[in-house]
Amino acid sequence: MPIPSKLPEPVRARMPGEPLFSVKTDLMPDGRFGELWFAVTEQEVALWGADGVSIFRLGVSELTEARAANGIGGGTLLADTETGPVVVARYTAALSPAFGFAAKLLTAMAKGEERPVVSEKEFPKYCPNCGNPLTEGSQSCPICKSKGKALVRMLRYAKPYKSQMAVAIVLLMVTAVVEMVPPYLTKVLIDDVLTPKNMGSALLWLVVGLGSTSLVMSVMQTVRGLIGVWVGSKLMGDLRNDIYSALMRLSLAFFDRRQTSQFVGRVNSDSEAMRQFMTDGVIWVSGETLRVIAIFVIMFGLDWKLTLFALIPMPFMVVVSLTLWPKIGRRWYQQWRSIFRLNVLVGDSLQGIRVVKAFGQEKTEMSRYSEANRELVRNNIRIEGLWQGMFPLFSFVAGIGTLLIWYNGGNSVIRGDLQLGVLMALISYLGMLFGPLQWISQMINWASHAISSADRVFEIMDTPSDVPDARNPQPIGTLRGDVSFERVSYGYEKHHPVLKDINLQVKAGEMIGLVGHSGAGKSTFINLICRFYDTDEGRIRIDGTDLRSISQTDLRKQIGVVLQETFLFDGTIAENIAYSKPDATPLEIMRAAKIANAHDFIVRLPDGYDTRVGERGHRLSGGEKQRVSIARAIIHDPRILILDEATASVDTETERQIQEAISRLVKGRTTFAIAHRLSTLRNADRLVVLDKGKIVEVGTHEELLAVEGGAYRKLVDAQKELSKIKGVEGG
């Protein structure tokens, strides 16, 4: 057995035998932070200080069982002995998997059962360089990887458009050079024409020169602007596509933990921020940098001593920019979080608008909104205010340079050391520096906004799927439909298993009814067959092949699902029926609808199969929607069929129709059905009764009913009781 955590020497030296398992815990027995070593040998369980001091030891022979009692944010390893339970070690949540394993190992040792094998998964991963936790499934440490990575990665999106962007930059360079011409012409005008009062054709030519340079400049600005818009829109499209496909790739577990409305904002606003930086930002920065260089070259050429005065405020501006940079980034993130909260709020209350109205809570929702809105306004003022304050400060500081040039240059002109035109030219070049300066502060703004957006976007893109596709998936062809569960355990939160040690063999074509109280694990059972989640332990095989080694596309092709919550997409009924088979012929669609008992009501609709349904379309009743979704499953022609409370929300007559449709649908397919009304499972070949995540009974309706005091019998009796009260239907 491997020992993943290396014990320190002093501990190792005093240990009575070879360690079977050891891990460093992060809490002292009194619950304070501190490091101790937990180690198991053949003879004893012990807790050691790093210096080899023994804190706790217990002989394995005294053990009857061990348990990891996980609390909130931490847990305790308990050992049961003849004299009662004993606390062995305490730990924080990061170590729950490791101690969960320790408990299993100790229990197996105490009972003399087969010992579990330790796997890497049980240990929290830390970066070997900086000791910060690694995210699950990734090997690279987010801190140790280069800082500019988000930036570089973001710029990679601009790569397909590099030729267009190059053109834009060249144009910008030319503009920068052309822009240098007018002040120079002004200088010539003052020194060679106006001051000597030299009347001739020179004046006209200089004015024509000034005019044509400004014409050339505006043409180039237009062309550059158009390129910017084109590249920008394309880039944004690419980004949005990538974010959306990253979202689609993520597993259900990811969305279970988050509100979905937040992603609407993410896809749009984050990609916009990134686009702005990449097109406007990159083009401007390169352009303005060139301009600054050009200005300084010319200024030095005109009079290098005076130019040095203009440089005096520069270090100050650089220092201010660098200190403000992280602050601005954080404020952008803060502002983003307020928008995020606002979006979540709106998404939430609009999705639940019926509940809001039914309880008359519009006012409460409004006040919740205005509170979040106030927060956003405040953050908006903070961030905008910061940057509004920055630019005037920068201009003022840069203005000091101008003042110095005026004073010193003016002196030189009076002394006759300097021509007036040169001074004027210097002043106007310096004035031109204000443009780029403004862009420096704007750029800080854009870049930090974009980088914080990029961080969030890449976070989504980098989240590994919880249900990764096998690298070399096994081709499965058409399934027979044998399904087997082998010691399957699963919990949405690890270590709170919802399903425990499930074993079940299902033959092809069999119909299995899943029965149990709510929360017994029925839906989880089904989610595992669909591979919305991967089992924590054990495996599920279909036709003998591990579910994990089948590609998800192949798998889903063979699985059909009819859920309680029918969801119809925005589109026509025909499109909805043909969702999984877009090339279905109209005849196929009608056949499927006929089998699903939906054909008649669809044809009677004014728009027939072309009736728009979904969010903006015609409202179908619950039973109608249900039958459309059954038709959707029929056309899919799955080998394995899953019915999750397919008849829960309809009246008896509709239920009869749906039942009829379902009984046609299940023929020859392996079917797993969950139903609240046990009567609907009469046709099932076998019933599986689940209780608290475990299978408690398996058998036919009659067999299980015959079990005196059995779990199924109790459920049936309870339901009979209930229907007597309701006075409607018998069990």
């Binding site: 619950g31 949540a93 987010p142 990575k149």
Partner: protein, 166 residues
């Protein structure tokens, strides 16, 4: 009895006695019956930390609710409080040494009532909770949690660190 099944059972302070067993396990006597192991749950972990405590046996069956820890006798109250501290591992932050964003992780260096610790978050909007008032709950990537009971009453340095993150 069947009516009681659907009612919350309040544990009267004089019908219960909590203590710690020789093995360090939380145990007690309730209505004359001895339980060698008890588990305590907070019904409102954010709002009422010392009230409405659900006392359960190791299987998770609720035995009753302790309405307020202050009503119990001294030893019971002390042991119950200790058990809460173990089960709800939520160190109270006494000082925020630093909050730094390094690449895409936010690293918090904290001083707590249970000793110094460090918390790493993937982002702020999912790992920081504001249950109300000036209270903040910080959650680590690995699930470790810390609590700032009132950020406004922290020292200047800590508040400075917090200004741009809350």
């Amino acid at each position: 009895m069947s009516a009681d099944l659907y009612d919350i059972r309040i544990i009267e302070p004089d019908s219960v006695f909590f203590s710690r067993g020789p093995g360090g396990v939380f145990q007690g006597v309730l209505d004359g019956k001895t339980y060698p192991e008890l588990v305590v749950y907070r019904a409102f972990p954010f709002l009422y930390t010392t009230q409405y405590l659900s006392i359960r046996d190791p299987k998770g069956e609720e035995l009753g609710i302790v309405q307020d820890i202050r009503d119990l006798d001294e030893e019971s109250a002390r042991e119950l409080e200790r058990e809460l501290q173990f089960r709800y591992f939520l160190p109270r932050v006494t000082r925020v040494d630093s909050v730094k964003q390094k690449s895409d992780l936010w690293i918090w260096e904290l001083q707590t009532n249970l000793g110094p610790t460090r918390i790493a978050m993937r982002n702020l909007h999912e790992f920081m909770q504001f249950p109300g008032g000036a209270r903040i709950i910080l959650t680590d990537i690995n699930g470790k949690r810390c609590e700032i009971p009132d950020w406004k009453s922290l020292d200047n340095h800590s508040r400075m660190q917090l200004t741009d993150v809350i």
